[in-house]
């Protein structure tokens, strides 16, 4: 039967309050900050990389705010645009697909810790929405649901280009999910847990960061993560010069915006996973939790914990932003693979390398013990 022991024995009110705060925080970070802002960042960053200025025409009374208002105009445009459903399309699935695509991207964040554990006024705050013991598996599971969104979108649009995009997305995502799972096995072996908070806590020592313990796993994971994100160089499902827009060719208005948002949210999630697994999560190099708390000790134990918590959360998001920047650099630098080359890379290079990585990791762990 269902095991209730994981529920906290303490009173429920602060627990629920803490939960609500965390959910609202993550939701507003994702939907309120990253989803709209990444569009702007992408425009401006690519522009500066390409010796251009970037979008800057939308203005209110002459104030363009560096083109930030374009996110607003985008929203207005997408909200007021005709919601077009092509003739012969499966209306139900056509409606359903964007939701299936965007929801996993949102909920995957639930298990990613954006801070450590802090004792505030006797209440133990754990800065993760759901501290699952199968943390990473949950992300894999949820991410694979997102594939359905794209595949269904390709199928339901009644368009050959969408269908080809749907086929490509199905093949690519399935292949890379296998490889992605295996690339992370090394990390789980090293830290001995799937629980994301424990992995984060284990990286308090700078030299125990995932990048140092699992360098090969890191590079393999980043390749898989890019492929899961469906952005250049792995954007073959939506390759605009081949398939027009791939599986969302026939989408417009808010449904198109949902696919768009899903892509950006996935990017945030991938960056967060990268940070949590390989780059020490919320940890600052060479500065342990205790050192920070002691440094701010003059504020009293509770306030010191609050300040430490804020610093940790800030560090986590700063690392995420850095990774988003790097992912965007990669996206705007490389050309695109071909369909068969993506498959070859996934099955013939990444998968064997990941298996070798597992074997080597296991051997090293045995030797060290």
């Amino acid at each position: 039967m269902f095991d209730y022991t994981y529920l906290p024995e303490m009173n429920l009110i602060p627990y629920l309050a803490e939960m609500m705060v965390k959910i609202v925080f993550i939701f507003s970070m994702n939907m309120g900050v990253f989803a709209p802002l990444l569009g702007w960042v992408e425009r401006k960053q690519s522009a500066l990389m390409q010796d251009r200025i970037g979008a800057n025409r939308a203005d209110i009374f002459g104030f363009t705010v560096f083109g930030l208002l374009h996110t607003l105009t985008d929203a207005i445009k997408l909200l007021t645009k005709e919601d077009f459903i092509p003739r012969g399309a499966d209306r139900t699935l056509h409606y359903l697909a964007p939701f299936i695509a965007v929801v996993p991207a949102l909920v995957a964040f639930a298990v990613i810790p954006f801070g450590g554990q802090y004792e505030l006024w006797g209440h133990k705050a754990n800065l993760v929405i759901a501290d699952l013991d199968v943390g990473m598996l949950y992300i894999f599971a949820v991410a694979s649901v997102g594939t359905y969104g794209a595949v269904i979108a390709g199928w339901a649009s009644n368009n050959n280009w969408s269908l080809l995009g749907g086929i490509r997305v199905g093949a690519q995502m399935l292949s890379y999910e296998v490889a992605m799972g295996l690339t992370l096995v090394g990390i789980f072996m090293v830290y001995g847990t799937l629980r994301m908070t424990e992995i984060g806590a284990a990286q308090e020592n700078f030299f125990h960061w995932g990048i140092f313990l699992q360098p090969v796993g890191f590079f393999l994971f980043i390749a898989c993560a890019l492929a899961e994100n469906k952005r250049t160089p792995f954007d073959i499902p939506e390759a605009e010069s081949e398939l027009i827009a791939g599986y969302f060719t026939e989408y417009s208005g808010l449904k198109f915006a949902m696919f768009w948002m899903a892509e950006f949210l996935e990017m945030v999630t991938i960056s967060a996973v990268l940070v949590a697994l390989f780059f020490g999560g919320w940890q600052i190099p060479f500065v342990s939790h205790q050192m920070l708390a002691d440094f701010f000790g003059f504020l009293g134990p509770n306030l010191a914990q609050v300040v430490t918590m804020l610093i940790h959360v800030g560090v986590f998001w700063a690392k995420v932003c850095l990774w988003i920047f790097i992912l965007m650099l990669i996206r705007w630098t490389l050309p695109r693979f071909r369909y068969d080359q993506v498959m070859k890379l996934g099955w013939k290079i990444i998968l064997p390398l990941a298996l070798i990585n597992i074997a080597v990791t296991g051997a090293v762990i045995l030797l060290v013990r």
Binding site: L48, M49, Q50, D51, R52, I53, A223, I326, W332
Partner: protein, 191 residues
């Protein structure tokens, strides 16, 4: 004849290290980041100091900043109004004949002092291809390609048909172009 046919260096052999994608990705990122950061810094600097020429960027904020137009630029064809306030055109009709898409039409008349002038002159800006053959044909330097390039488009094609009044521009405003065509294009030294 010097120089010959030379085979291209097709043998781009990749070492195992290069076949791993990683060094290429890193090198590519170095290049693009090498554009990103100087551009970011110079743009920020230009924004703070208010000097747009400090930007290391190819493009400009178009309607606020205008590009420099070379002397040879062929913009909207205009009629020249002479120093005496009269049109220089003598309505000989050469521009009408020389125009490849036939966008010019004019009728000539006689002034009281016996000089000819165009009573009507229409240039259909929607048809004009800005080739400059009218300017070349004109024996009086009465129609020249000005350096106008803004606000030439309309939502209604009939608004793009310019009549004589819309085309006549005082000579002083066209000195740059008039000087150029006398010096570089139709001067005797070119023959």
């Amino acid at each position: 004849m010097a120089g010959q046919y030379k085979k291209v260096n097709r043998g781009v052999t990749l070492t195992l290290w290069e076949r791993l994608y990683i060094p290429e990705v890193l090198r590519g990122i170095m290049i693009t980041a090498g554009h990103f950061f100087p551009n970011l810094i110079s743009t920020a600097k230009a924004y703070i100091t208010g000097k747009p020429e400090q930007r290391k960027i190819m493009t400009i904020y178009y309607p606020e900043e205008l590009p420099t137009i070379p002397e040879a630029y062929r913009g909207r064809p205009v009629l020249v109004r002479g120093a005496d306030g009269k049109e220089k055109c003598v309505a000989c009709g050469l521009c009408e004949v020389a125009c490849p898409p036939k966008c010019i039409s004019l009728t000539g008349g006689m002034r009281d002092d016996g000089t000819r002038y165009p009573t009507t002159y229409t240039l259909n800006g929607a048809v004009c291809i800005f080739c400059g053959l009218c300017e070349e044909a004109c024996p009086e330097e009465a129609i020249v390609m000005s350096h106008d390039y803004q606000n030439l488009c309309e939502y209604d094609r009939s608004l793009m048909v310019y009549d004589k009044e819309a085309l006549l521009i005082p000579q002083e405003k066209l000195t740059r172009r008039l000087d150029y065509i006398r010096r570089r294009m139709y001067s005797k030294c070119n023959y």
